[in-house]
Amino acid sequence: MSDRTLPISDSAGALGERWAGGRLGAGLSLRDCRPTRRRVWRDRRNKALVILAVLITLLPVGMILYHITSKGLKTMDWEFLTSPMPLSFRRAGGGFLNALVGTVIMVGLAAAVSVPLGIMAAVYLVEYGKRNWLAKVIRFFSDVMTGVPSVFVGLFVYTALVVQFGFGALMGAASLAIIMLPIIVRSTEEMLKLVPQELKDASLALGAAKWQTVVKVVLPSAAPGIATGVMLAVARAAGETAPLILTALGSYQLTAKLWGEPMSALTLAIFDGARNPFAAGQARAWAGALELLLIVLVCTIVARVIASRSRIKR
């Protein structure tokens, strides 16, 4: 700090008047042209404001992380990770294994459907549809879908499937897939747009057909970005609660049945535990929140590692 302020105060008397710019006149050297005090002050003030904004933004994130970690760690142990919920909230012990299994099954199913579908839709938008009416329609509805509150998606799946077939993992997965799809389409589209035309030209000039160019050049070049978008969608789906209440319902049983009976999910179990009045149930909810947080974190890190490995370094 002092390094920057000292020379300004030194030259104050020498020149009589300081100036921030302008042409160098007779007898003036570059060293005499220093920013005015006002400008230096403004620079510092703006820098301070920006740093403050960052700190304020980070504050809630930091507090959430701290709360979840400190409260969750009290209950988080091997038993919690490996045993299903006790049938009564009141009872201590037990864990969220059934919820973990439910989340993995439903998010996995949803991803298995929405990832290939979303990537193919994005390829259509960028490489084939471009600006035609179908592409515009797909883009418009993707945007609308991204903004639709997830509870509506749950209601839709409830009326379309649950009323007929009952609660279950498939219905939960369907609602999560609907939520993930537009995220994947739009993020993949942005990534595909970044693939330079020169690369596509190079491939086409070598006699590659359009689909070969897409499969061998465009998709590999965009793979790291696509993986990031997919992980975002997975994290979003893993954190959804409202649509699952209406589709998977939640359960105390450890089950892998895809339909015919309700299934739990981490978010459902957390919600359940948090709103009951018993300390043991609430403690399990905190541990469940920590577990979900870690899963999302691990997914993100894995995606980053895969992305950085698959990309050939510059």
């Binding site: 330079p196 020169e198 030209d201 190079a202 000039a205 070598l206 070049s221």
Partner: protein, 270 residues
């Protein structure tokens, strides 16, 4: 078209014969009435001022310009007597016979090996891939510089090396013709010299068509030169390119028949 260096005593059939070629972008005429023959195992240079349609003409030879929305071609481009714009001709097949090197080096973000092998792989090459990669890299005078790092990213190479890699990639599919769109304009003088030397070696096996901004380069390397120039319609101020003069490079640069050619090659505009 027969010249004295035609020692074998027969008239060579042209690789390309362009007949009354008009090119449009949307409703704008870009090239008008082009007629010329590209002879085998020669370097043909296309020169002319900016915006006269040199690259457009080059891209007509492998149907790359139809990737630009609205581009349309009239007339014929005969490749060994066969019109590449005839109905039923697949542009993908055309491009497998006619390689292209672009203005800016554009290697794929893959390894050096995979770059060279790319074209062969998509064409279902069944032979020894290692041998093909080595042969192509040797042909492009790049082998000694990269033989120990074939699995490294092509993007780690210098600009000049990348451009030679692109040439290796183009010749790995064993094309008949190589089109080059200002291949040295993004390179420094030393890298440019290497590319020019390489072209001299390659013309023993390939027909080369090169677009260049650099008249000295055209004079140095080419056997024949086509001079394109922009014509302007005074009333609508529409502009299109025409072929002013086409002939042996020495003749174009020393005894041009057209006044416009003379002005251009003597540097009076450009």
């Amino acid at each position: 078209m027969t010249t004295s260096d035609d020692t074998q005593g027969f008239v060579e059939r042209p690789v390309f014969s362009v007949r009354d070629l008009n090119v449009y972008y949307g409703s704008n005429l870009a090239l008008r009435g082009i007629n010329l023959d590209i002879r085998p195992r020669r370097i043909t240079a296309i020169i002319g001022p900016s915006g006269c349609g040199k690259s457009t003409l080059l891209r007509c030879f492998n149907r790359m310009n139809e990737l630009i929305p609205g581009a349309r071609v009239e007339g014929q481009v005969l490749y060994h007597g066969e019109d590449i714009y005839a109905p039923g001709v697949d542009p993908v097949v055309v491009r497998r016979h006619i390689g292209m090197v672009f203005q800016r080096p554009n290697p794929f973000p893959k390894s050096i090996y995979d770059n060279v092998a790319f074209g062969a792989r998509i064409n279902g090459y069944k032979g020894d891939m290692d041998e093909l990669v080595e042969r192509s890299l040797r042909r492009a005078a790049l082998w000694d510089e990269v033989k120990n790092k074939l699995k490294k990213s092509a993007l780690d190479l210098s600009g000049g090396q990348q451009q030679r890699l692109c040439i290796a990639r183009a010749i790995a599919v064993e094309p008949d013709v190589i089109l080059m769109d200002e291949p040295a304009s993004a390179l420094d003088p030393i890298a440019t010299t290497r590319i020019e030397d390489l072209m001299q070696e390659l013309k023993e096996d390939y027909s080369i068509v090169i677009v260049t901004h650099n008249m000295q380069q055209a004079a140095r390397i080419s056997d024949e030169t086509a001079f394109l120039y922009t014509e302007v319609d005074e009333t609508t101020s529409a502009r299109w390119g025409i072929l002013v003069e086409f002939g042996e490079t020495a003749q174009i640069f020393t005894r041009p028949k057209d006044k416009r050619t003379e002005d251009y090659v003597s540097g009076r505009f450009g």
